[in-house]
Symmetry: C2
Subunit: 256 residues, 2 copies
C-alpha cells in the first residue's frame, strides 16, 4: 500500500463542481487522494495569491470515495501552497487540477486558475497536470474523459516530468467522446477581443460586464487550437520561465 502515489487534486471551479468530482473518482483508482480546492468558483483568477486577507481551510466529508477533502477560501494557487505546507502528510507525487469546465487552450492558460494551480505545483517541484473540457456547462459529460485522464496521469507518474514543466491537457467537446487521438502541441497565438457590456444599476450608476470574442490568427497545424478543432486531445507542455531569451541579444544593443 505504501507504493500507492500521494495525489493532490485541486481546481478553480470549486470543490463541488462536477469536473473535480470526476477527477477524484479517477485518482482514487490510482493512489491516495487529498483534495484541497476552493470553496467557491475562482475562474479567471490567473496566478493570484491571497496576501491582503486571511485564508480559511476546513476538512469536509462526503459520502463517496476514500479521499480526504478540504475546502479553502483562497485562490487555486493558495490551495496548492496550503496543501503542501499545512495539510498533506508529505510532498505529493503528483498534482492534478480540473477537470475545468471550459477551455484552457491557447492564451487562456494565462487567465486560468486551473493551470495556475498546476504551475504552482510545478514551481514547488511537483509533477503536475491541468485537465480541461471545452464545455462550460455545469452538466458537461466528463464520463468519456476518464480513461484518457487515467492513462496520461499514469504516464506522468512513470516518466516523471522535467524540472520546470507541467502539462496543459484539453479535451474537445464531442457528442460521443470519439477522440481522434492525442496531439502534443504548442500554445496557439490567439487572444480575446474585449467588448464590455455596459449597463445601468438600479441606483442609476454605470457598470460593466467583461465579455469578449476569441480570435485565433495562428494557422499552424501544430497548435492546441488546431488539434481541438480537429477532434484531438491537446497536450501542451507549459513552463514558467517567462524570459524571452530570443530578444536578450538584441536588447543588449539598445542605448540604455
Amino acid at each position: 500500500m505504501n507504493k500507492r502515489p500521494l495525489i493532490l487534486v485541486t481546481n478553480d471551479d470549486g470543490i463541488s463542481a462536477p469536473g473535480i468530482r470526476t477527477l477524484i473518482e479517477v485518482m482514487n483508482e490510482i493512489g491516495e487522494v487529498f483534495v484541497l480546492a476552493p470553496d467557491s468558483p475562482q475562474s479567471g483568477m490567473g496566478h493570484a495569491i491571497t496576501i491582503d486577507t486571511t485564508i480559511y481551510c476546513d476538512e469536509v466529508f462526503t459520502n463517496k470515495g476514500d479521499q480526504s477533502e478540504f475546502r479553502c477560501s483562497g485562490t487555486p494557487a493558495d490551495c496548492v501552497k496550503m496543501a503542501i505546507s499545512e495539510i498533506l502528510p508529505k510532498k505529493p507525487d503528483i498534482c492534478v487540477s480540473g477537470i475545468n469546465h471550459g477551455s484552457n487552450s491557447s492564451i487562456n492558460v494565462i487567465y486560468s486558475g486551473t493551470m495556475s494551480a498546476a504551475i504552482e505545483a510545478g514551481i514547488e517541484g511537483i509533477p503536475a497536470i491541468g485537465f480541461s473540457l471545452l464545455d462550460y456547462s455545469w452538466n458537461a459529460n466528463f464520463e468519456g474523459l476518464k480513461k484518457h485522464i487515467k492513462k496520461i496521469t499514469l504516464e506522468v507518474l512513470d516518466n516523471g516530468m522535467p524540472d520546470g514543466v507541467v502539462l496543459n491537457v484539453n479535451f474537445p467537446k464531442l457528442e460521443n467522446n470519439n477522440f481522434k487521438g492525442i496531439k502534443i502541441c504548442r500554445q496557439a497565438r490567439a487572444n480575446w477581443v474585449e467588448g464590455f457590456d455596459k449597463r445601468i444599476n438600479p441606483q442609476g450608476k454605470e457598470y460593466y460586464w467583461l465579455t469578449g470574442k476569441f480570435i485565433n490568427l495562428d494557422h499552424g497545424e501544430d497548435t492546441d487550437v488546431w488539434a481541438l478543432e480537429n477532434d484531438y486531445i491537446s497536450i501542451v507542455p507549459v513552463h514558467f520561465d517567462l524570459t524571452a531569451h530570443h530578444f536578450i541579444k538584441k536588447l543588449n544593443l539598445w542605448d540604455l
Copy 2:
C-alpha cells in the same frame, strides 16, 4: 502636438499609490497620458480577470498634471482591457505599469499584478513595460528612478518591441540611487517557500496568513536577482508563450 505618444499608465497598488503618481509625472513629460488603475490595492493578483462580477469605472480629478484619470474596481488586467476597449480615444502607443512597491524579479513575475497589466497590453499588441522598486514601503523614494524610467520608455517608443514581448524592469533599493548601470537578464530560477501563519479568530475558528521566504538557488550571473543584488537595474524581456518547446520532442515519445 499630434506627434506626442498616447500613454496608458496603470499599476496594481491602486491609483493613489506614490509609485504610480511618480510614473504619471514622468509620462507627462513624454506624451498624452491616460491613467486607468485599480481603485484599491491588487498586489498578488497575477493575471486575474473579473468574470463573475460587475466592474465599475469612474473618471477622477486630481489637482496636479495634465493626465486624464480613471479608477476601476477590477484587476490590473481588467484595467488594461477596459482602457483599450472603452476609455482611450485610440490604441495607446505604449503601456507602462507601476512603479510597483516591491520586487517583481524572478518568479514574482508570475504573481505580479503590475506585470500582468504589462502582459495584457502585450497580448493586445501594445509595447509595454512594468517598473518595480525593491522597496515595499509606501514612502519609498522613487525620485532617483525618474530619469531611468524616462530613458527606458523613450527607447521602447523609438525601437518598438517585437510581437509578444514586454519588459520587466526592477530597481534595487539603494540609499543614494547610485545604480551601477542596467543589465539585460533572464528570470532567476527561484521560488517562495511557504509558511502559513495560523491564528485563531475571536469566534475561536482557525485561519491563516500566507507568509513565505524567497529562496534563490540559481547562481547564474545573468539573472535579474544577481543584477539587483549587485546594484544594477535589471531588465528581463518577458513573453507569454508558455510552451516548453524543448520538451515537445520528448513528449512525443511517450506512450499516450
